[in-house]
Symmetry: none
Subunit: 212 residues, 2 copies
């Protein structure tokens, strides 16, 4: 029996969901609330496995509520539902700890299926939402793609790596078993290729451009 708590400000929708989960096999509605004012109390007296959370609600919105629930009841999984298809919402919902994100045009069967999926450890989301998530993922993680080619040689990369680690020329020379002046020569070449004129600039560029 999957216990579902419903957070939805629209009375008609709320009652529809309540009926849906109470009539479906394997589900039971643990509570249905129009807002999150009594959130923690509600979950205390009527524990649930999954919270079906509307984003747009008066007072505490669904994102804030998700954070609250995850703080106090980390075991409760939250399935976000929204009419919105907005990057910021999706991003915030994920960061808040939501386990799924579906749109409100989902069929009743789709809702049951999504809740089942969440309960099974999955993260159901409509393909459109998933696309946004992938895009956000790439945006936030992939600036590496823009890794320009500075055509540094193998040895130069090693020197730059050590430079980034805060090593002095002397330490780099020791680490690579070469002479101090050799390190200097490499550094000179690196600066020329990177179009910088100091170690701090080189390190900054190296990290931001993910050369190292």
């Amino acid at each position: 029996m999957i216990r579902v708590a419903i957070f939805e400000d629209n009375k008609h929708l709320r009652e529809t969901f309540e009926f849906l989960f109470n009539s479906a096999d394997g589900f039971v509605c643990a509570g249905a609330y129009p807002d999150c004012s009594e959130l923690i109390n509600s979950l205390e007296t009527a524990p649930c496995d999954i919270a079906l959370m509307d984003i747009e609600m008066p007072g505490i919105n669904g994102i804030e509520a998700t954070k609250l629930i995850k703080t106090h009841y980390p075991a409760v999984n939250i399935l976000i539902q929204s009419v919105f298809f907005d990057d910021a919402y999706i991003f915030d919902a994920i960061c808040a700890g939501a386990s799924g994100y579906i749109l409100k045009n989902t069929t009743p069967d789709g809702y049951l299926e999504a809740v089942r999926n969440v309960d099974a450890g999955g993260s159901p989301m409509t393909p459109g939402i998933a696309r946004k998530v992938l895009d956000l993922f790439k945006q936030n993680l992939q600036p590496a793609t823009a890794a320009k080619d500075y055509s540094l040689t193998a040895q130069e990369k090693k020197v730059l790596q050590l430079l980034v680690e805060g090593k002095s020329y002397k330490m780099i020379a020791a680490a690579l078993s070469v002479a101090f002046d050799t390190v200097k020569a490499h550094v000179t070449n690196i600066y020329a290729k990177l179009h910088v004129h100091s170690g701090t600039e080189a390190v900054s560029l190296a990290i931001r451009e993910k050369i190292v």
Copy 2:
């Protein structure tokens, strides 16, 4: 008519897919290949809208193939299918530019539905995969929150910021309209607070710990 190219080393599966897409309404198989050796040629002579890509293939694997296709034919969407449920694969697939990721235990109808979703601009993925994506997302995004407190003062932060930009003490002094020796003093304090002993170390730490 959605044109689907199939990349799958298993002969039986490959022929099954070919039959599936050729018999289904609105789909046509643009080609079925056991490996990616002739990848670019194949797509040139038999253009497609969507590539159904197996990950495990001899020679060029599905991830590499995805990168190749995205480089030469960015308009082609790639739907990854795999028996594997592995973080690294999923991560790499997303970074390579895949538009969807489904498991091989999907039903024939599920395949058709997934391809339809990709064509419509969505990113179908099984809930389990989606969960992994969300987890990866949080993992890779959360360290930002863990910004340690080095209790730098406002002025020290400004100096550090300029240091990260590769400015010299002289330039920093000019930028902040203070004396050269004042910059020296701030830098000394910054190094003490950050427990570093050189500009490169400070810059490296500042960027990685997202102090600036």
